[in-house]
Every structure is written in C-alpha cells, then in structure tokens.
C-alpha cells in the first residue's frame, strides 16, 4: 500500500495482542493488531480512552505497566522483533532508535533534576562523550525545538517552565540520539490550542527534516487530519480501520469512523449542521465480546454482526476495515473511488511540505 512513494517500513507490527492480569483474571485488552510505519511517515492512531492505543505504544517500548504483557505478535524494527528482546537489549534501542513523548510533561519530567541533567543523561546513555559535550548537544537540541535561551533552560526545573516549553524539552530529549521513530502519546492534549499547533508543526517539520517516522497517538481527529499521512482507527481494543488520511475523511469504510466524523464539530461547519451523537457507550467488558464490538452502537447493525468475529480485510487498494457488512458490499457509504485522488493528494502534500522546509532552511 504505497500511496506516496515512501520505501521500506521502519516498523512492522503483526498480530499484536496484549493482555492484563487483573483482579478478575487475565483480560485481553488488545487483539489482532497489525500495522506498518514507513520511513519518514506520520502514522496517526486515533481512538478514544480505552481503545488500546496507548498500550500499543507502551508495548513497543517495553513499558507496559505491571500486570501487562504481550501475549502474541511481533514488532519488527530494524531487523529485530522487539518483543523478543530482554530489557537490557531494549535499552540499546529505546532512547536511541525509538523515542517516546508523553502527555503530561510536568509529571513526565523528574521534578528534582534540571532539564539539562535529564537531557544529558539520555545523550550519554547512548553516546560515549563527556558531560560538557553532552550539555552542548543538549543546548543545540533545545534551540532546534524553538526554545528561547537554551543555556538558561538547561539549568531550570520542570515546574519553572510553561506547558509548551516543557513539551519542547521532552521533544528535545527524544531527539537526542536521532531516533528513526518517535512515538507521541497524546503529546499535546493538555496544551492550549495555540501552543498545541506550534508543537505539532514542530514535530512534523522535524519528521520531514530527518526522515523520521512518527507514531501520533491522539483522540483528536482534527490533529489527525492536519498531521498524519496514514491512519489507523481503534475501538475497544481492536483496529477497525487502516487507511490514508485523505481516504479516511472523504470515504471512511467503517461505521465507527463514519460515526466519529459525524459527531465531531468543526469550526468550518455551517450553523445548521447537526452533530450526530453516537448512542450508548464503549462496552466495559469488551474483551468478552466475540462478535463486532461496535454492534451495540452501530447504525448499520444486523444480528449476524454480533454472532461473527470480525476480521480486518481490504475493501480496496487503500482501505482495510473490520466490518463484515462493509466487506460484503452491503453498506452504501462505503462505495468510493477516492483511492486514486488520495494518492495524488498525499504526493502533493509531501511536495508542498518539502518545498516549505527548503524555503525555511534557506531563510
């Protein structure tokens, strides 16, 4: 599914399943997840709370909380299956080849160490250089992420910085060893809108500049539209749609995606647009549901949906969905020829971005 001229996948996840040991026994909170991230690509993972998007990311970094484990699947990254590595072996990859940015920078940064201390630590974990040299690198990184007065910031503590500055510091920390992949888990959700826009554009710029792949995890489909090239939509522990960003918005293949698009307001709406609320709530014990997990809220549900386990299948060249009715051609809204247009749009977007970057660098 190469829609934009990217080459080999940097990350290839196959049949991932994650289970948690809770008080009531073992629960499979994520199942049957497969996706790819190509070099320099931004893959958006969109889903609500409890959809499994966060634990997917954490599992790749070996950071699942106590009680969680990868019960099935492979994650191929630079020739290795991440899930077969010991913590020591993983340490050689995380912070170096894959880095992660978290949601709340205030609690994700250690309050008793300076920013400089924490960035330098990350640098020296993977490079054999002196503290002074690492500090210089750190200052350079802070400058690159748009921090005014980097030398001063090195000596500050997390609580002295504003939310936006803290998040920039986290990005600087993540960039330290020029990773091939950055995972941003709701990295801007707690920031103000104008700051969020700055940070997101910084990320996209860095991705272009360094041919760095980004796994962008968010609940905000507006962000997805602006930032992502490819998108996977998650619901109740499953991936329900896998497509590119243009197709997602113009011709969604899964009823949940469609419902999501109808339920989210946009500043471009007319005043008489009506938001279509999705009835019901995400089922609590969704791991016990064998049929379609969205059935309880789906406008197109039929009895067979609840009885049959749904699997991911391609609808066409650029869409994969987990919905038997869509796969059997039973849903009107699914018919589309968007794929071609999307390929063109993606290519054009990439060109525009590159041109803008070159202009920025020349200036």
């Amino acid at each position: 599914m190469t829609t934009s001229g990217y080459t080999e996948p940097v990350l290839s996840v196959r049949d991932l399943a994650i289970s948690f040991n809770t008080g009531q026994g073992e629960r499979v909170l994520l199942r049957d997840a497969s996706f790819e991230v190509k070099r320099g690509e931004v893959l958006g993972i969109v889903g609500e709370s409890g959809s499994g998007k966060s634990i997917t990311a954490l599992s790749l970094m070996g950071l699942l909380p106590a009680g969680g484990r990868v019960s099935h699947g492979e994650a191929w990254f630079e020739g290795q299956d991440l899930f077969t590595l010991s913590p020591r072996q993983l340490d050689r990859i995380r912070g170096k080849r894959i880095a992660m940015i978290f949601q709340d920078a205030l609690t994700s940064l250690n309050p008793v160490f300076t920013i400089g201390n924490q960035i330098v630590e990350g640098i020296r974990a993977h490079q054999d250089i002196s503290k002074a040299q690492a500090a210089q690198q750190a200052a350079g990184l802070l400058g690159r992420v748009g921090m005014a007065d980097p030398d001063n910031v090195l000596n500050q503590y997390a609580h002295m910085l504003s939310g936006g500055m803290r998040q920039r510091a986290m990005i600087a920390m993540a960039l330290a060893s020029e990773p091939a992949l950055i995972i941003a888990d709701e990295a801007t959700s707690s920031l103000d809108v104008t700051i969020q826009a700055q940070i997101m554009h910084l990320l996209r710029e860095l991705s272009l500049e360094r041919e760095m792949s980004v796994l962008l995890i968010t609940h905000d489909i507006g962000l997805i539209a602006q930032m992502a090239d490819k998108v996977i939509v998650m619901y109740a522990g499953e991936i329900v749609e896998n497509t590119d960003v243009f197709t997602l918005f113009e011709a969604p293949g899964h009823p949940y995606t469609r419902a999501l698009l109808e339920t989210v307001p946009s500043i471009e709406d007319d005043k008489d647009r009506e938001l279509q609320a999705i009835p019901g709530v995400v089922p609590e014990d969704y791991d016990a549901i064998s049929g379609c997990r969205f059935a309880g809220r789906c406008a197109y549900v039929e009895p067979k949906c609840r009885e049959t386990r749904q699997i991911m299948l391609p609808l066409d060249e650029c869409r994969q969905v987990r919905c038997m009715r869509a796969q059997n051609n039973e849903l009107e809204f699914v018919h589309s020829t968007q794929c071609e247009a999307s390929k063109i749009a993606l290519a054009r977007r990439r060109q525009e971005d590159k041109a803008e970057l070159e202009e920025r660098l020349r200036a």
Binding site: M61, G62, L63, P87, R88, L90, D91, R92, I93, R94, G95, K96, A99, M100, F102, D104, T107, S108, L109, N110, P111, V112, F113, T114, Q118, E121, G122, A125, H126, N155, Y157, H159, M160, M170, M173
Partner: protein, 320 residues
C-alpha cells in the same frame, strides 16, 4: 538562578525564626510566673525575707511584666537559668551535664534506625506483594506493637540476668575505668529499645512513600530513554525518596532531646530524661522550666533544619 533561590530561602527561614524564638521565651516566662515568684527561681537558698524584698526592689521585680521579662531574658542570655530547688545547682550546669549522655543515646539510636529502615523500606517497596515484602512489613509491625518498656525488660532479663553478657544499668561500670568500650556495652540495650519502635514506623512510612514514587510517570520517561533499570530506581526514584526521608528526620530530630525518658529510667542512664523525671516528681520548677525552654528551642531549630533540608532536596520549594 537556583543557588540564589536556595540562599534566599534559607535567609527568609532564619528571619522568620527570630520572632518565633522571642515568642517562645515570652510564653516560657509567662508560665514561670504562673508557677510562682520568679525571684524564688533566681536566687539561691538561705536568703532572708528582708534580703529578698531588697533584692526584688533592686532587681526591679516590682516592675511591670515586660521589664521583668526583659531582665530575665538578659540573665538567660548570660547563661543564668536559675538554680535547682533540690540540688541547689545552677540549672544550666545540670542541663549541660546531662545533655551529652542523652544526645549520645538518641543520636546513636536515630542513626541505627535510619540505617536499617531506609534500605529495608525501599527494598520492601520494590518487592511489593512478595514474601520478602510481607516479612519486612510484618516485622516492622511487630516492633511498633511491642511497648518500649516491655522490650526493655525482656532484653534485660535475657542479656543481663540470664546470660550476664550486658550490664543492665548506668553508663559505665561502677568502680571501673570507663572508656569507650565500656560505654558501648552499656549502650547496646537502651539503643536497641529506642530504635526498635521508631524503625518499625520508619520502614512503613518509607515503603509507602516509595510505592507512590514508583507510580510516577517520570520513571516511565526515564526508562524510555534506555538508561537501564538500575539507574531508573537508583537515581530517579531514590532522589525523590529523599523528600519523605527528610520529613522523617525532621519529625524525629526533636526526639534527640526528649525521647528517652522512659528508657533512661529503666536503664538508669544519666541523661536529661532521668533528670527531668525527678525534677517533675519533686516539683523542681526551675529545672522543669529550663528543660521546657530548651525543648522548645530544640524543636524550633529542628524545624529550621528540616525546612532547609527540604529546600535542598526539593527544587519545587525554593522557587518563588
């Protein structure tokens, strides 16, 4: 800058301490007045009524309260804390004599308790829900539950009466040459008793603080940088654990002076506790007031030290 912030914080703290200190002396003097005629406290024995009256006039003790307070304060600053009604000794001298044995005892037991509770508390938190965790917590609970005097009596029975290994009272062997080793032998049991209960509660407190720290998101960030599990716990978690440890130190510092009363009784350890007990039993007001004043000042100083230590280990406090 940060150094400046710390210094400014310390100065502010010391400045605030001055009015508190004055307040302490004021209250102490007030209480003394309620207890009796201050002249009786300041003068020695065997003085006639006439001489007393003359002295009162001379010292201006018929003066208003604040003047008398001021006079008393100046005397205090010269080191005159009055005379004991019982021993006729200057109170200041008595306190000085009895201070060092108490400090020795309490200091050693505090040190011992921290040396044991910090590693055990942290280890217990790291191994939560394992057998070792339960064992440590259980033992801690046991030691909290055993009353100090009971433990003391058991130890005395075991090691002095039955086994004859350790002396059961005093600070040095009667008629002996004394010396460090001798004092050490005398110290073992009282220190153990003092340390036992405190260690128990320290372990539990450090353990629960550590458990909270282990939940913090910044540990996950540290791990995501690939610095290794050892550094995540040993550097990032541990450094944050210093904050609750400082809390504990702060709470227990004042005990350096007064925490040993019962134990000193049982082991006849010649410290402040013993002295204060007999003063109380004998209504020896000057001694009691002197010790109270000292205790109050000790608490004040402990608070200041603790606050400063906090600012050193926790940067979020110095920030203005």
């Amino acid at each position: 800058m940060n150094r400046g912030g710390l210094l400014r914080y310390i100065l502010k703290r010391l400045l605030i301490a001055v009015p508190v200190l004055i307040g302490i002396t004021l209250i102490d003097y007030l209480l003394m007045n309620l207890a009796g005629n201050p002249i009786d406290m300041l003068i020695g024995p065997r003085v006639t009524e006439a001489a007393k009256a003359a002295k009162m006039a001379e010292l201006g003790l018929d003066q208003p309260f604040l003047v008398r307070y001021w006079l008393w304060l100046t005397e205090l600053m010269r080191g005159n804390m009055g005379y004991s009604l019982m021993t006729y000794q200057p109170v200041a001298k008595m306190i000085a004599q009895n201070l060092s044995p108490t400090l020795l005892l309490m200091g050693t037991s505090m040190l011992l308790s921290f040396l044991i509770s910090i590693p055990l508390g942290i280890y217990s938190a790291l191994k939560q829900y394992t057998l070792r965790d339960y064992a440590i917590v259980g033992t801690a609970f046991l030691f909290i539950s055993i009353p100090g005097f009971f433990l003391a009596l058991v130890l005395v029975y075991l090691f002095s009466t039955k086994l004859g290994w350790l002396p059961s009272s005093g600070m040095k062997t009667l008629g002996g040459a004394g010396g460090m080793l001798d004092t050490l032998r005398h110290m073992i049991m009282p220190v153990l008793v003092l340390a036992a209960s405190v260690t128990g509660s320290n372990i539990r407190y450090i353990r629960s603080s550590m458990l909270e720290i282990l939940q913090q998101p910044y540990l996950r960030t540290a791990e995501s940088k690939g610095i290794g599990r050892f550094k995540v716990i040993g550097k990032h978690a541990f450094r944050n654990a210093m904050i609750p440890i400082v809390t504990l130190i702060g709470l227990q510092l004042p005990m350096l002076l007064g925490g040993a009363v019962v134990v000193e009784q049982i082991f006849s350890w010649p410290g402040l506790g013993l002295m204060t007990m007999s003063a109380i039993l004998n209504r020896d007001f000057p001694v009691i007031m002197g010790v109270s004043l000292l205790a109050a000042i000790a608490v004040l100083m402990a608070n200041i030290i603790t606050d400063i230590l906090y600012a050193v280990v926790d940067p979020t406090i110095r920030y203005d």
